[in-house]
Chain length 146, copies 2
DNA sequence: CTAATCCCTCTAGCGACTGGAGGTTCAAGG
DNA sequence: CCTTGAACCTCCAGTCGCTAGAGGGATTAG
């Protein structure tokens, strides 16, 4: 290979932090590279591509397990892409769910801060709303990860 | 006020799981209750209120540190509510940021799945998009958390 | 050859829980 | 009163995806 990156160079190329790269290798997400005579990692263009794939997938919110599956699928070019498509659709559904949750949360938070009369804690709407769920719409449940 | 809940009853009342209630106590989020002669936790109406406050705050995405701060503030009824207001506004800003990120992610995921021709992996748009960030808008960074 | 910067492994920690093992207590039915 | 079984107890480990630090070795520019 002509290209030959240190871990730091790979990090700069991809925006993935050095310890994170080592972490990916440790959990088998990123192929282990050759080492220099002194034991330092030497990456090539394929590693760069692989890491960009992971980075992009993470940015889109895919879990590492999903990305591992997608990596595996992409190495079987003749297979139907249904499995990959399913993973992507699931991810989209997940994102839609989180968006809905966050919108409900935003609505509630907006009400909380809009009602603030900048007085004392005793009549604080922030606290009052938190103390009494009945004061709010109540549509904002389970917005996290579920 | 003579109310007297077991941890399971408290869990049912609030929707917070039993181990989570114990966890909250262990990190000082929830006051330690009295114990039965046999050593089991016996909660009262104040604990119920306290846990509902935490639960509602968590649903709105506040971190436990923020909720601890808000709890502390609510016990000083004469203080200005500025600090509480600031925490809520910060949380709102955070939610807006996450919404923006998730919307960008959704847009990209939609494109990925819309372009799927249900063929083979070799021409899979899901994989192609992940492999080449240049194929997408690229506005979707740092969206994560909630 | 030296100094600066990089890199190595290993371990532990984050937030906010969640689950299991292995043992004890409680409340209701007989 | 006794038995049963659900609920409870503590402690420990694991989840996810990193992130940080300690204490050293390697590489590279001048």
């Amino acid at each position: 290979m002509m290209s030959d990156y240190s871990i730091g160079a790979l990090s700069r190329q991809t925006g993935v932090k050095v310890p994170t790269i080592r972490y990916y290798e440790s959990i088998g997400m990123l192929d282990a590279p050759d080492r220099s005579p002194g034991g330092q990692r030497r990456y090539d263009a394929q590693h760069l591509e692989q890491l960009r794939f992971i980075r992009h997938g993470r940015d889109l919110g895919f879990g590492l397990d999903d990305l591992r599956a997608l990596q595996g699928l992409s190495r079987q070019p003749d297979r139907s892409c249904d499995a990959a498509d399913r993973i992507a659709r699931q991810q989209l559904a997940d994102v839609e769910r989180r968006l809905a949750g966050l919108r409900a949360v935003r609505k509630e938070l907006k009400r909380m801060v809009a009602q603030c009369s900048h007085g004392v804690m005793d009549e604080c709407h922030v606290i009052q709303t938190l103390s009494d769920h009945g004061l709010c719409d109540g549509d904002h449940a389970a917005h996290n990860k579920g």
